[in-house]
Symmetry: C2
Subunit: 242 residues, 2 copies
């Protein structure tokens, strides 16, 4: 969040954003879609994680992606290779997605697809460990990624993200032998801020932890009443009621 | 930068910040101090680079650090071990230092030290590859760090930082054997945005490139008329005139 020299203005901004986020969430609910918001520093591995995830679970769920980047469609193009619809949002100078931008993305989604046919939308946020945590976009759960290359102290130094996360993926664990990093210390630092978040160390390269992550996603969708593709009409009904 | 739903307000914010940055720069100039603003994603190695730099050049220059963090004094405490004054600024929810915060830090610096005795102030900004690039704090040069673990595409995806940088340090090169990363591609991507910036691949662990970085710092200080500690009065006078 930027200081705007005006606390009331900041509260108005956040309040307007929350209002828009709830409107987006209402749309997801009507469509029977679960929305997960992926957030992290640049280069923590969000896109690669999404690639592995799409590959693993797109037989279970009908998936779309909302891809936030300041500029370029590089990540959107990578993800389109996996055969899912990707709505690319370029934020320009903005350091995070906000609910208004995502509302525009949902409008496009509605024009191009049948949203009721989908179970799951991943939002890949702009790479930033600070601001995305404060700007909800209508997600049902927040997923934060922290690469072990970033160091043990980051949860304490950037606490908002780690307080807000429903799931924390500690990524790039395959690099542990080459770093002076203590993964247990990362976990302890996160636990000082958030006793409830699910913490999963993962490596997209070695595959460590990915099964546990896929299972977490499945459970979140199931808990909201979302079904497998074979059972999507029932899932959609149940989710609409939620 | 956050979208505030009001372009005029955004311009006013940036304009007010520029005005404050120039006032800070004027103070640095009066004191004969060169100020370098270090910016990067979280965990790219700013603090470790500063530790190595203080160790290597504090016989040549009288140095102080302005340390920006959302919360904690973890980095400030690390740097104080090296025997230099460190002014810690906690930005709270703000994702970057701005010129007003740094003005407060300079006020504290002036109360606690004799600024005219110093040659060089490093500002370590909040870890964020987006917003710090737009908020000058009064620096004479901008130094960006990009860890090779973040991937080749980051200059294209976060262009503002790479356009603004006077020097780019590509960090953690010791990890290259364990990553699928092409350092030459990083350089090419930066060159699309910025033909003039000095690019130095470095590793704080192996020492690669550090000598070239120290030399870059020495030359920037010398170009502004700053001298060695043995010659500080002359350096101060020359810099004041600059």
């Amino acid at each position: 969040m930027h200081q705007t020299f005006d606390a009331a203005l900041e509260m108005n901004l956040l309040h307007a954003n929350q209002h828009g986020a709830q409107a987006n969430r209402d749309r997801f609910n009507r469509w029977g879609i679960t929305c997960l918001n992926l957030m992290s520093s640049p280069g923590s591995g969000k896109t690669q994680l999404l690639e592995k995830t799409l590959h693993a679970i797109q037989n279970d769920f009908r998936i779309a992606v909302i891809e936030g980047d300041m500029t370029t469609q590089l990540d959107a193009e990578r993800l389109r290779q996996h055969g899912v619809p990707v709505i690319a949002i370029n934020t320009g100078r903005s350091c995070h997605l906000d609910s208004k931008m995502v509302a525009g993305g949902l409008h496009q989604f509605e024009n191009e697809q049948q949203p009721e046919d989908f179970d799951l939308v991943f939002v890949e946020n702009v790479g930033n460990l600070v601001c995305p945590a404060e700007f909800e976009v209508g997600e049902h759960a927040k997923v934060a990624l922290l690469s072990i290359t970033e160091g043990e102290d980051k949860p304490l130094k950037y606490p908002i993200m780690f307080r807000e996360a429903d799931c924390l993926l500690i990524t790039k664990t395959d690099l542990a032998p080459y770093l002076d990093v203590d993964i247990e210390a990362i976990v302890r630092n996160v636990r000082q801020l958030n006793s409830k978040t699910t913490i999963i160390p993962v490596s997209a390269k070695s595959g460590e932890g990915l099964g546990e992550w896929f299972e977490w996603v499945r459970q979140v969708v199931a808990a909201r009443g979302g079904g497998t593709m074979a059972d999507s009409s029932q899932g959609t009904l149940a989710a609409s009621a939620g």
